[in-house]
């Protein structure tokens, strides 16, 4: 494929540069390496110096000579630096690179051709670190088990627990890489770059950075901004000289995955004020436009994620994603992802279910199941008696019975899950309100609210508004943007402007620490009711009589 086929707009992380040098002679006795350097240097956009790492002097000088002093140099374009990565006799058909969304529970990856920008393959798998701890905090505990003195005696000391976590995630990425390579019809070693978008702790685990202070006040990561290293330094099975671009993070609770989200949502390029909401382990929220960005994060996610609610699960086949209860007959209809037999509730299904139960008068404004014995409507009372079962001293709602067609087992919503869900939705609304108040704006000033991730793809904003989780705005304001963490990782592989922008975003963003915000605590208390203590904030939500 001639170089002319490369879209003009692509400025990939690894750039092929065609070189053709004169053959050495007595009149031109330039050394091989210097000849190669000179041939490349003139073609670098800013005339910057080319770095040739010592370990590549011998093999690349030889490959250049063997190719007759002409061919294609591959250059890793790092911030302010050009590093020679390889020399090939000719331009290959594709120049594959890998974008990785390094999630706490799940990894998603895409194989991208740096010559065309096209996605060649996609794959995903569970984060293998789950076996060492479902959540980040327990993994940090695992990674910092050895007493602190060891770190002070030997600055390079790596905690054995951290080593285990690192080896686990490296192996997991290597398996994912192999799968991706097969799907893309290439060798893993042909992958020339990797970009990684993950939360701050996951990045620490991957790079073997000490996460000790991440979860201890004042919550300081070891590093937010890490220069790209080469894949060989991490034991990743790509091309050994592949640069690994780690999305920078802003703080312990504001990771590179959200920087990716800002890139993908184009928040930082917007004239109007927009908001980005990403619900994963935490709810992470960014507000801003091209001039300013403000962000915060809080524990609004856990109840909505698989693994916390008893019947909770990832948004995967078999997860109930939608629930409808007929207001007259009280018949219930559930939809599962891909129509697979019902196995549990994903976050969006949980929200849909609780909103439906609230609108059907079976959950009160405090988020408690109502007592069927105090129910006046006989149809509702009958439905409730049929569906409510006791779990210990608490009632639970049977969403799906094992005996139902297409069910794997009973799917129950317990009061304890409902309570957790109320805390999450209260936290979410409190986060959003606090953030708006910080900049003196109202929700109605927002041109758009981008909702990222699987949560964004599946949630019904209407249901979230009913619960008072999201502000009561016209539904057209809400836009699901999909896996923006992965999209951002793809963007930095392909465009210098994206790589520059993610560094700019970090320096531009103001991060609000909610743990020390009085306002957040007040907002949080007021948001524990459905939809809110101040119902005027949710004019579209019907007020139900007690």
């Amino acid at each position: 494929m001639p170089e002319g086929n490369m879209p003009q707009t692509l400025t990939p992380l690894v750039r092929p540069v065609q070189v053709r040098a004169d053959v050495p002679s007595l009149e031109d006795n330039t050394a091989d390496l210097d000849r190669l350097r000179n041939a490349i240097q003139g073609q670098l956009p800013d005339g910057g110096g080319l770095e040739i790492p010592f370990c590549r002097v011998v093999p690349l000088s030889r490959l250049f000579r063997q190719a007759g002093f002409a061919g294609v140099a591959l250059i890793n374009e790092l911030p302010g630096r050009w590093v020679l990565a390889d020399f090939l006799p000719a331009l290959p058909l594709t120049l594959p690179a890998m974008a990785l969304d390094l999630g706490t529970t799940h990894l998603e990856a895409a194989l991208v051709d740096l010559l065309t920008g096209k996605v060649m393959a996609s794959a995903g798998r569970e984060n293998s670190q789950i076996q060492y701890g479902a959540d980040i905090l327990s993994r940090i505990h695992q990674a910092t088990s050895v007493r602190r003195q060891m770190r002070e005696v030997e600055p390079s000391f790596m905690d054995p627990g951290l080593l285990t976590l690192q080896q686990s995630i490296v192996a997991c990425i290597n398996e994912l890489t192999a799968e991706l390579a097969v799907a893309g019809g290439i060798e893993s070693g042909a992958i020339r770059a990797l970009s990684v978008s993950g939360n701050t702790a996951m990045v620490h685990f991957l790079l073997g950075l000490d996460p000790f202070h991440i979860c201890r006040e004042p919550y300081i990561p070891m590093a937010n901004m890490i220069e790209p290293m080469e894949s060989r330094e991490l034991g990743l099975k790509l091309h050994p000289a592949a640069p690994v671009w780690i999305m920078p993070s802003v703080g312990s609770y504001f990771g590179g995955d959200l920087i990716s989200g800002i890139l993908a949502s184009k928040l930082a390029e917007s004239e109007q004020v927009r908001m980005l909401i990403d619900v994963g382990t935490n709810a992470e929220v960014v507000l801003g436009n091209k001039d300013w960005l403000i962000a915060c994060a809080g524990a609004a996610g856990p109840a909505l994620e698989g693994g916390v609610a008893r019947m909770g699960m990832r948004a995967a086949p078999g997860a109930i994603e939608s629930v409808a209860i007929d207001p007259v007959t009280y018949s219930i209809e559930v939809q599962t992802i891909e129509g697979a037999p019902a196995r549990g509730l994903c976050g969006s299904g949980l929200i849909d279910l609780v909103a439906a139960l609230y609108l059907a008068g079976m959950v009160d404004i405090r988020g408690k199941f109502r007592d069927p014995d105090r129910e006046h409507d006989p149809a509702r009372a009958a439905f409730m008696r049929e569906r409510f079962v006791m779990r210990g001293e608490q009632p639970a709602f049977k969403v799906v019975a094992a005996s139902d067609a297409g069910a794997v087992h009973d799917v129950l919503l317990e009061q304890i899950d409902l309570d957790a869900m109320i805390r999450s939705k209260a936290a979410m609304y409190a986060i959003l309100s606090t953030l708006m108040s910080q900049v003196g704006l109202n929700f109605t000033d927002l041109a758009e609210i981008c909702v990222a991730g699987a949560f964004g793809n599946h949630i019904k904003p209407r249901a979230a508004i009913t619960l008072g989780m999201l502000p009561d705005l016209d539904l057209s304001v809400y836009r699901a943007i999909g896996n923006s963490s992965l999209q951002g990782a793809q963007a930095v592989l392909l465009a210098r402007s994206a790589r520059q922008e993610c560094l700019d975003i970090v320096s531009k963003i103001t991060y609000i620490e909610l743990n020390v915000s009085q306002e957040f605590m007040i907002q949080f208390s007021g948001s524990h009711f459905i939809p809110h203590t101040d119902c005027s904030l949710f004019p579209s939500v019907p007020l139900l009589a007690e």
Copy 2:
């Protein structure tokens, strides 16, 4: 020692930067590494970006935190790049660095304090590669013994012979480093930088570069200009992050040792035209001023170096460095270096001896021993009979007899050594003449002739002029500058301007390949007589009747 003690003019290869950062708080939750980077960045002269190699992220972040976020960062100042090397709680008393003259037969090193520029210790030792070959060509042969195809199958392949040579020189440098450290009262690991000044082949052996094409037309090195690597990459026992600055070379026969010589002689800063002569394995000559530089090299050295002439040796204790023969009594007086018992002849002693024999009428203008039987002066005939012995069918001159006071054994000058010496002196004069003629100047246009190395320290220009080896100029034109290879290596450790200048010199220099010069061959033939076929070139040298 406070930083204020560092001379203002020092811009060392490793620069200490004092940093003091705020302690992390909820209001300032910058990550440890980012805090360190920010604290350093503002103090870099050109506001350039600081590189933090991945392998140092964990230990340096920890050391910074342990030191209370204040201390001294050590920065490797590479061309166009600043690389973080270490973090110390306080400025040490000294910041030692090592300058190394990597000679074919001998290594010389100096330990320099980067804080003050003072020399802390010096040491030298024989090049351990001599066991694999006395001269460069035999070592290149040894280093390229495996058939060429292997290199083409695996570009990183290292010839086992080259590996042996590399391991040998690395071990030799490590021993020298240990000796230097003891002499300087420090640990080897405290040495923070190394500069290496050596010929092109020696640099190839040290770095494991393939020297195959160095000695094959058109004589192409694998690399002339190598970016600094870190000592750990070469297995050198200094601080692992110590940058290794390799003096760039100009061609296969014009190495970094001569670039050092140009630096040390300040040739490239001179208004007037000056010449630099360095006689080692080859005679290397540079001519020029601040506007232009022209250079060439040729095999004028071997006869003057230890190991070639049967009685030849390095300029070391016991080497005869000076010979006087009384023109009337023919009594002979020799001086040895440090007055030690005579063991052999160093290059300057050889020149002094042959000049004395010529002036005493015992060597003719063709460089042949005269026949005592055809001698008319009885005193001279008697002296010659006493001193001349036959070696096979050729006469030899006994400089020192084993029976003499303070002699170790007979020291003989054989006709074969004399012939080699004549070829060397002819080559030297031909090189100098060819170079002058290239730029259309006469020897009388030279403001100065710097003679480098042990040769320069010991040679008597008068004797060299007598033989027609050096041009017949006023003796004040000649200046011995000592080990300029080592001096240049010291200069780049201490001054950014010297590091920049050595890169500038390489791009400025014009190298003349004598192997293809007709003029050189003509000059070479004419220079085989003492002093020359054209005696008008040497008006100060007495013409002796046959």
